[in-house]
């Protein structure tokens, strides 16, 4: 310290011309500038993580939804036009809980599991906002979750099948697709639109578990030996917000199903029209 004090008063003067600054002064200056740089880089990283990744992921996900809508438009024009209004209205609550037993005469159509990175469909959750339209993509790798939307756990059931259609999504950053997962109220509808049709799930309950609790992904969640007779939707995300010590799990049950030819359920009809209109 004494050494510095002796050097410092003399140091600024030589910079204006005259004798060059001492080596210690220079080293201190470079060290200080590096520290300032590190601080700025860390602040920029925080801004990138908390703000920019959301903009980036939102744009990517809109693109994925648009591609899906385009694909769907091509797919549906190939089908015979059969918009005969077979299925009931969206508000209809079926008494029976087995998949596809009411609302449509046939059991729910089940698509095969696609290749990783392929779009399975689009999820609408009115509780998350009237404009909540997020893609579901096969796989739960960072490439999927960080930019493409909700990820479907490989090996779990597809929508409509007896078993567990399990999805993961970020609570914060990268689009924060499941930020409001804790706001779901039992009875809330979660709509999954695929090429086959609309799967209407009803949120039942949520729980907070440790990150290692893989039994939430079982065909019947948390029942290792059980054979599934119903169709579950399980969504997993970080808990708490901005943390990863736990996972928050939201369980829903398939309420009914309607084929694409029956058109969208009334509650999300406007949203679907907007989404498809983008295509």
């Amino acid at each position: 310290m004494l050494q510095e004090k002796a050097d410092l008063p003399a140091a600024p003067a030589p910079r204006r011309g005259g004798t060059p600054p001492s080596g210690l002064y220079r080293a201190l200056q470079v060290f200080g500038e590096l520290l300032l740089t590190a601080g700025v880089v860390l602040l920029l990283f925080v801004a990138w993580q908390l703000w920019w990744t959301n903009l980036d992921a939102d744009a990517r996900q809109r693109e994925v939804v648009r591609d899906f809508a385009q694909d769907l438009a091509g797919h549906q024009s190939a089908l015979p036009a059969a918009n005969t209004g077979v299925a009931g209205s969206a508000g209809q609550v079926s008494g029976s809980r087995s998949p596809g037993s009411k609302g449509s005469a046939k059991p729910a159509a089940v698509a095969p599991e696609p290749a990783p990175g392929t779009t399975i469909g689009v999820v609408y959750v009115p509780r998350f906002g009237a404009d909540y339209t997020r893609p579901v993509v096969q796989g739960t790798t960072p490439e999927v979750l960080d930019s493409l939307g909700l990820g479907h756990y490989a090996g779990t059931a597809m929508p409509g099948a007896a078993g567990n259609f399990a999805l993961a999504g970020h609570r914060q950053t990268h689009g924060a697709v499941l930020d409001n997962i804790d706001a779901l109220v039992p009875g809330d509808r979660i709509y999954v639109q695929t090429r086959e049709g609309y799967y209407i799930y009803r949120f039942r309950n949520s729980e907070i578990v440790l990150p290692t609790a893989t039994d939430v992904l079982l065909p019947v969640p948390a029942r290792p030996a059980a054979t599934p007779t119903e169709s579950y939707l399980t969504m997993t995300s970080c808990n708490p917000r901005f943390g990863s010590q736990e996972r928050i799990i939201a369980y829903s049950l398939l309420e009914r199903w309607q084929p694409a030819s029956a058109g969208p359920p009334a509650e999300i009809a406007g949203q679907v029209a907007r989404t498809l209109g983008d295509g």
């Binding site: 920029l44 990138w48 756990y153 993961a168 950053t173 990150p211 609790a213 990863s244 010590q245």
Partner: protein, 56 residues
């Protein structure tokens, strides 16, 4: 350090200011493209899956 780099840039003052802004922009792009995605693996926000180890 930065003063030294600035003094080594060629051209008149306005050109050196422009050059340093371009250099800063380039560094920012490199950070967003490579450094930040790498740093993200150390942040806790992105663990939303069950039972899967963090992918480095």
């Amino acid at each position: 350090m930065y003063g030294w780099i600035f003094s080594k840039l060629p051209g008149p003052l306005w050109l050196r200011i422009v050059t340093s802004l371009v250099l800063l922009g380039g560094v920012l792009v490199l950070m967003v493209q490579f450094l930040f995605p790498w740093m993200a693996q150390f942040s806790p926000f992105t663990d939303s899956t069950i039972g899967l180890a963090r992918h480095p």
